[in-house]
């Protein structure tokens, strides 16, 4: 698949103050998830530094368990977050090869751990090293938003998976991540778009519609070609360049 990305200079040309405000609000909506994930990541870094560098002790499962209240805080603070936790790089823990400490909040405010088979020799193994949101951290040390996708391991909810890499002095510890339910996250994304007078769509690098203010484009569908400024689109501008989301505003006569 070829991804044709808009050129920054040309795309910015027709940007009205309204559109700029919309882009800023969309970026804020992303930060509403990424900022607490960064804080979660910092808690993991501090814990790892304290144990392995200051105390010169092996980093084990019990240290990770000590971080769980931080995960619960995150689950409580943002209603759109359906589940969240840490996923660690191989051999970061002294007592386990791999570790996924991920929690789901039920409607009655109980926290339930997600239990997955991590043993690579098992046919049911959940190999998170093959997941795009983990690979972005391992390979490029960059944050990532995967989806929208139906999250099968986590109760088949329609979600985005957000991941924030945690790196200490060049050592990749893993990621702090969250599954964000679309049905609830839309409250953050749709109102900014509805403030625009023109039909508009937020689209990712895969050409997939994230959200729109017009029923011609519905979430999860793929548009045929990546929007470029021209006959159909008046503005195509990155929302958050590093995660590949773009705002595309249609020409008013776009049919």
């Amino acid at each position: 698949m070829t991804v044709v990305k808009p050129t920054g200079g040309r795309a910015q040309a027709g940007l009205t103050p309204e559109m700029a405000a919309c882009v800023a609000e969309l970026a804020q909506a992303l930060e509403a998830i990424f900022t607490p994930l960064q804080q979660l990541g910092q808690a993991l870094s501090a814990c790892w530094i304290g144990t392995t560098i200051v105390d010169r002790q092996p980093f084990t499962t019990s240290e990770i368990a000590g971080l769980q209240p931080r995960v619960f805080e995150l689950l409580d603070s943002e209603p759109a977050v359906d589940s969240a936790g840490y996923v660690l790089a191989e051999n970061i823990l002294a007592d386990r090869a791999r570790c996924l400490d991920w929690w789901h909040r039920s409607d009655d405010h109980h926290y339930q751990p997600l239990i997955l088979e991590l043993d690579l020799t098992s046919p049911d193994c959940y190999d998170y090293y093959t997941m795009d949101w983990f690979r972005a951290g391992v390979d490029e040390g960059r944050r990532f938003v995967s989806g929208p996708l139906i999250d099968l391991p986590c109760a088949a909810v329609y979600v985005f998976t957000f991941s924030q890499p945690v790196v200490v002095e060049g050592t990749f510890l893993g990621i702090a991540g969250a599954d964000v339910a679309l049905s609830r996250y839309e409250d953050h994304l749709v109102p900014p778009l509805l403030d625009l007078t023109e039909p508009a769509v937020v689209i990712n690098d895969e050409r997939r519609v994230i959200v729109s203010n017009d029923s011609r484009w519905t979430t999860g569908e793929k548009v045929r070609t990546f929007p470029v400024v021209g006959r159909d689109w008046q503005v195509v501008v990155p929302v958050a360049g590093d995660i590949g989301w773009h705002l595309a505003v249609a020409q008013t006569n776009h049919a």
Binding site: V211, T218, T219
Partner: protein
Amino acid sequence: MNVEPDGRINGGNVPSRAIRVPPLVVSPGGGGLAQSVARQIADAIHLGLMAPGEQLPSEGVLAGHLGVSTMTLREALVALRQEGLIETRRGRNGGSFVRPFGSLSVPRVRDQLRALSATELRDIGDERLAVQGTAAQLAARRASAANVEHLRDLSTELVQADSLGDKARTHNRFWIEVSLASQSERLTYASMRLQSSVGEMLWLPGVMPIDQKALSEELVSLAQAIAIEADAAARRLAESLLDRTTRWLIDAHLNLTRRRR
């Protein structure tokens, strides 16, 4: 037996006292068992599967059908009485009866449309395409003469329906009749569930850009395709209408979501 003003009995196509409440599906996170039972029966009433004045099956029979204890069923009936959906008469001809239909509550249905997300509406639309598109195709291969007659009646009745509640119920009954005509129990239950989730919303003022006459004509064409056993055409007509319906609902939802500045 309940005779309608137009002379049909109990909506015409189903024997009196037949149990038209779908089997119980306990929805996750949705209160207790009695509440699920009450919702299931309420849906059957809202969908027009049980006519006003119709007597509910006896407690023992209905509880057995739903697979719950009579105690749970009684608890559900109390809730339905409080909602004003049924009334209980004592004496020799006593029992529980469906009360005359109220009108569609615009604020309640508008709140429901606002509360759903655009993505959920798209997903319900996806399921309607799968369930009701397929039901239309199968109906064209399998419909009985009686099914075809009911479809024709319902599609033309839509023009005469006055209140929003009547329009919604007639339209719901059309789609359920399509699934009945498909001879598939599973498609029928799925269709009932889908109509009860979005069936009323379509009739909120301003949702549909076409009038009820134009909609009625589309249903007449679909009924005709089913009548002449043109299965591919039936599917195409159903899909086209369902697809537009989903987009109308999404646009209406977006309009309700717009911030006032």
